[in-house]
Amino acid sequence: MEVIKTDFILNTVRRMENDQSKEFSFGDKKSLVEKLAIAFINPKDFDKLNLSSKPNLKISSNFGIIIVKGIADEDVPEGTVLMPISIWSNQITGVENSELRYKNMRVDVDITEEKINDLNSLINKIKEA
C-alpha cells in the first residue's frame, strides 16, 4: 500500500479550548483525549494527506512518535502542524543543548488507522522508557 508522507513544521501552542490543566481539573480520560490528542492542519494539507480516508495522524519527530486525531483548520499555515501543549505533544518534543525544543521542529506526518494513544498508554510508556 502506498504510504503518503509529508514534511511538516510542528508548533505547540496554548489554546483555551484545548487546555490540559482545565481537562485535568474538570474533564475525564475521554475529554483529555478529545481535547488534547489532536493536531490542526491546513485544509489543503488535510486534502493532500487524504485524511478523510483514514481517521488519524501519525506524527514522528527525531524525539518520538504520537498518534492523534487530525483536524482541518484554515488558520494554520500550509505545511504546519499545530498541537495544543500537552503530554501528547510532548511525546515528540525534545531537548537540545539543555534547552527545550517544542516549536518550529521538522516532523513527518502520515495518515494511519492506528489507535490514538490514551493517557494510560502514555503514562505506561513514560514509566517503561
Binding site: 496554548r14 489554546r15 485535568f24 524525539f63 503530554i87 510532548n90 511525546q91 527545550l100 503514562i123 514509566k127
Partner: protein
C-alpha cells in the same frame, strides 16, 4: 460583595468582584473565562482533598501524619533532591521552598527559568528597561504581540492595554496600533482593526526578520525585494515605520520567541533591534513586556534575587549556595537527582518524554491541588489550598509589580497552604535530626 484579585494568570486582575459568605463563593463578576475557571477549581470534581501514598503501585488515601512522615523519610534518603515549580504559589511559599532546598542541600528552580526568565536575564544585561501595565495604559500608541497569543493566554490583557483610555491617551483604541507577528492566525487577530498590521510570518523565521530589520536600521534599502520570512517588503517597511515612529511602543514577547535557535540568540537579536530603533527614534521609545503564564511566574525571581542575588537555579551544598551553570533541564537530562519535589506544576506533562521518563524513575513528591499526569506517577501527593482564593499571599504581576492576594474562603477539609506544608516538612526534618 468584595473586590478581589484573580490568580487565573499573571495579569492578576484586581477588579474582580466576588460574592461570598466566607464558606462558599456564590458569584464572580468581572473575571474572564480563564479566571472563572480558576474560581471553579475550588469545587472541581477532580480536586485532591486527601494526602495520597503509593502502595502496590496504586495511590491510596493516607493520614497527614503518615504522608508527611513518608515525605520526610524519602527526603532523608535523598542525596540530590530537586525542587521545582512554585510559579502557582505565593512568594511566602517560594521562600519556604528555598529554605527547604538549603536545609536538604538540594537544587531548586521555578517554571520561570524555562520561560520568561531568559528574556529578563538578557534584558537586564543589555540595559533595556521593561515597562508596566499602567505605563502602557497611559502612554502606549503601539502594541506589538510577537509570538504571543494574548487573547487566550492572558485574556484581559488587550482589554486593559488596547481598549482602555489612559492619562496621555484619552482617545484610546482609535489612536493605538496593534501589530501581531505570528505564523498562526490566533484568536488575538480577531481584535484587529483596519489600521492594524497582521504579519503571518513563516514558522521559525523570526530570526531572519529581526536580522534584516537591524540591517535596514543601519542602511536603508537593505530589505530584499522579495521580502523575508514570508513577509513582503512593504509589510516590513510598514513594521519598521511603526516601530520607529511610535511615541511609546511595547513589544509583548511570547513563547513563540523563546524557542532556541541554532547559532543565534533570538532574544539578544531582538533586544539589539530595540536598541537600534530607540537610537533612531525621534519621538519616543520602544520597550518590552513579558507574558508569563502562571500567576506568580515572576515571584521566584524576586525572592531568589533578594536572598542569593540569583534569579533561579539555586544549588545548595553544605547548606551554602554553589555557583553552577546547571539548570532544571540539564539536571534531569544528566539524571543528576535522586528524588524530586514538585509544587503546583505538572512536569510529566509539560516536559518532553526524554525528561519525563527520567523523572518517573525516581521518587516524586507532589504538592498540588489538582489532578495531573505527574500525580499518576507520584510516590506521595500532598494536597494544598488554592492561593488567592483559600489563602492569602504575595505575587508579582507580569510587569513585576507586587500584588497582595487575599483569602476569600476557608479551604475544604482544613487543607494546608503550600507554605504550611513546606514548613511542616522543614520542622519535621529538623526535629528528626536533619537530612
Amino acid at each position: 460583595m468584595k473586590r478581589s484579585v484573580c490568580s487565573g494568570c499573571s495579569l492578576l486582575c484586581d477588579d474582580i468582584m466576588v460574592k461570598s459568605d466566607g464558606i462558599y463563593i456564590d458569584e464572580v463578576f468581572g473575571a474572564c473565562l480563564k479566571g472563572k475557571e480558576k474560581f471553579d477549581q475550588v469545587t472541581s470534581q477532580n480536586r485532591i482533598l486527601s494526602p495520597l501514598i503509593r502502595k502496590d503501585d496504586t495511590l491510596q488515601k493516607a493520614s497527614w501524619d503518615e504522608a508527611l512522615q513518608r515525605t520526610v523519610d524519602l527526603i532523608k534518603k535523598s542525596k540530590k533532591p530537586l525542587i521545582y515549580g512554585l510559579s502557582n504559589s505565593s512568594c511566602e511559599a517560594q521562600l519556604k521552598g528555598i529554605e527547604l532546598a538549603k536545609l536538604i542541600n538540594g537544587f531548586i528552580d521555578s517554571n520561570a527559568s524555562i520561560c520568561q526568565g531568559k528574556v529578563l536575564d538578557n534584558a537586564v544585561n543589555s540595559g533595556i528597561t521593561l515597562t508596566t501595565i499602567t505605563e502602557i495604559i497611559n502612554k502606549a500608541d503601539l502594541i506589538l504581540l510577537w509570538g504571543s497569543n494574548a487573547a487566550e493566554s492572558i485574556p484581559r490583557l488587550l482589554n486593559k492595554v488596547l481598549f482602555s483610555r489612559g492619562k496621555f491617551r484619552m482617545t484610546g483604541r482609535e489612536i493605538k496600533t496593534l501589530i501581531i507577528i505570528d505564523p498562526v492566525k490566533t484568536a488575538s487577530f480577531n481584535t484587529m482593526g483596519v489600521r492594524d498590521v497582521a504579519l503571518r510570518i513563516t514558522p521559525g523565521k523570526d530570526i531572519e526578520l529581526i536580522k534584516v530589520l537591524k540591517e535596514e536600521c543601519c542602511a536603508a534599502d537593505s530589505i530584499p525585494s522579495e521580502g523575508v520570512a514570508g513577509l513582503d517588503k512593504d509589510d516590513m517597511k510598514r513594521l519598521l515605520q511603526h516601530l520607529s515612529g511610535a511615541e511609546y511602543g511595547v513589544i509583548f514577547v511570547g513563547q513563540g520567541l523563546l524557542t532556541p535557535q541554532k547559532n543565534s540568540n533570538l532574544i539578544n537579536e531582538l533586544l539589539e533591534l530595540v536598541q537600534m530603533i530607540n537610537i533612531k527614534q525621534e519621538r519616543g521609545r520602544i520597550t518590552l513586556a513579558m507574558m508569563g503564564g502562571h500567576f506568580n511566574m515572576n515571584g521566584f525571581d524576586h525572592v531568589a534575587l533578594s536572598m542569593y542575588g540569583k534569579r533561579g537555579n539555586l544549588h545548595f551544598k553544605d547548606n551554602q549556595i554553589l555557583e553552577t551553570d546547571e539548570n532544571i533541564i540539564s539536571k534531569i537530562e544528566n539524571e543528576d537527582f535522586d528524588c524530586s519535589i514538585f509544587i503546583g506544576t505538572d512536569p510529566i506533562s509539560h516536559f518532553p518524554m526524554s525528561l519525563s521518563s527520567k523523572l518517573a524513575k525516581k521518587p516524586i513528591i507532589l504538592i498540588d491541588n489538582r489532578n495531573s499526569a505527574t500525580l499518576q506517577l507520584a510516590s506521595i501527593v500532598l494536597p494544598t489550598t488554592i492561593t488567592g482564593i483559600e489563602c492569602s499571599g504575595l505575587a508579582y504581576r507580569l510587569d513585576h509589580i507586587p500584588i497582595e492576594l487575599k483569602k476569600i474562603i476557608n479551604p475544604p477539609s482544613k487543607i494546608p497552604t503550600d507554605e504550611e506544608i513546606l514548613n511542616q516538612i522543614i520542622q519535621k526534618l529538623k526535629s528528626d535530626g536533619g537530612n
